[in-house]
Symmetry: C2
Subunit: 259 residues, 2 copies
């Protein structure tokens, strides 16, 4: 619960957005500047509440956060995990009040960014526009994968798939090793992510442990053989969109980016 997620040396936002576009020093400076006003949050503290008028855009700098919805007054469905470098509610500048909740999972540092600043970046500078939009689209892509997982994968592979994703996403921001990463998720949280009960999470984790696929200790996840776990759950990282595409440069020219 209080496992501290390592702070990457560089700005996690810049680390993440490398995959969105090739940013120059000026772009990076603009991005880094967004993270100036920092705020610390307790675990479980809400960052965004559904229906609230958006005061600004929030960015996770340290720790984990998560999105969730409440269904039928009592059931909570976790909709996604937010790691350092992820925007919580970039969409609010367009959509307005959020339709879901966002809360700190671990102790967190977040940046509060005034709407207008992001707004100006998004709708004036086309390369940054592309990059910030890219960030929301990757979110959407991850949601599609989670939905596919929920619908078609049995619970054990669903957990395994989630673990593969978390290892990789944390590696992106320098918060994980080759075969291990922080995993500050309690079993009740995992249950809400996977749409199953805590009790089942416990049993499945035991089975995965017995199969030698994972090891959990001190709120860290160890994966002895990443390839084996990936094969087990049919993990294909394409949906994270981590490859720079050669054809994007051409598209950027068309859009008239040439600084």
């Amino acid at each position: 619960m209080d496992a501290t997620v390592t702070l990457p040396r560089s700005n996690p936002l810049v680390l993440r957005l490398r995959y969105g576009a090739d940013l120059d020093a000026g772009d990076r400076a603009l991005l880094a500047d967004l993270a100036r006003s920092r705020r610390s949050l307790e675990p479980q503290q809400d960052i965004v509440r559904a229906g609230d008028r958006a005061a600004g855009v929030h960015l996770v700098l340290e720790g984990y956060a998560f999105r969730y919805k409440l269904i039928d007054d009592g059931h909570r469905q976790i909709l996604g995990l937010l790691l350092p470098g992820d925007f919580c509610d970039l969409q609010s500048i367009v959509l307005g009040p959020s339709d879901h909740y966002i809360a700190a999972l671990t102790a967190c540092t977040v940046a509060d960014i005034p709407q207008e600043r992001v707004d100006a970046l998004v709708f004036r500078d086309s390369r940054l526009a592309r990059t910030l939009w890219w960030a929301t689209l990757v979110d959407e892509s991850i949601l599609r994968e989670w939905l596919a997982s929920m619908g078609q994968r049995p619970a054990d592979k669903r957990i395994a798939h989630l673990f593969c994703e978390l290892l990789l996403r944390q590696q992106l921001v320098g918060a994980a090793g080759e075969r291990d990463c922080p995993l500050p998720l309690t079993q009740p949280m995992l249950a809400d992510i996977l749409g199953i009960t805590t009790i089942h999470v416990s049993r499945i984790l035991r089975d995965l442990r017995l199969a030698g696929l994972i090891r959990l200790k001190d709120r860290r996840l160890h994966i002895p053989d990443v390839a084996r776990l990936r094969a087990f759950c049919d993990f294909d990282p394409t949906y994270l969109h981590l490859v720079r595409r050669p054809d994007l440069e051409a598209a950027e020219d068309v859009a008239g980016v040439g600084s």
Copy 2:
């Protein structure tokens, strides 16, 4: 399967995007112009294939389309339905090759729009930028609701919730009445949407019919008492973001929209 979805009198794209921003005549003309090159598709014909280099952006003008993923070679998970006025792959101008498939569900008319044209609109004109981005963000919001539904609602309420959503989304583009709308989904399709088997879909539909909540005839869905069905499945349309927000105008001023 071959039920023809009514063509709204006005351009469905313009009808849909009304909720994204207040567009002037010039904006509407630009949007309408996007839909000039039309193409007809057979049911089940793929519009976008995962991994393919994106040739352009696709827009549904008539009929239904759907997104899906294939898991473990054989299991298909439907990730969303695309109705007239919905972009299939607006995200491709930023993300590149799609990470999922998109196919026609009924006979469809789609517009093929060259990447560059959308690209120019998105990254040059800030009001249209906001509007097109809005469209993708609503997609994302619907995905979150589907995921929540999948994780926390039992199958019967999941179907009911889907039906409420479909009735409303079709009303938006003038393709539905007060209490009925086209429903060109076969039971195997519904099964893939809900993550259950065809057999179960059949039984659940029977139960809903016996409960007097729905009637299905000639590929149309009739909902005798919409309020009752909404109550049954806890349907709250907030996630569709159909309200214009007063504070957006202010934000638009900041972004320098005032044409």
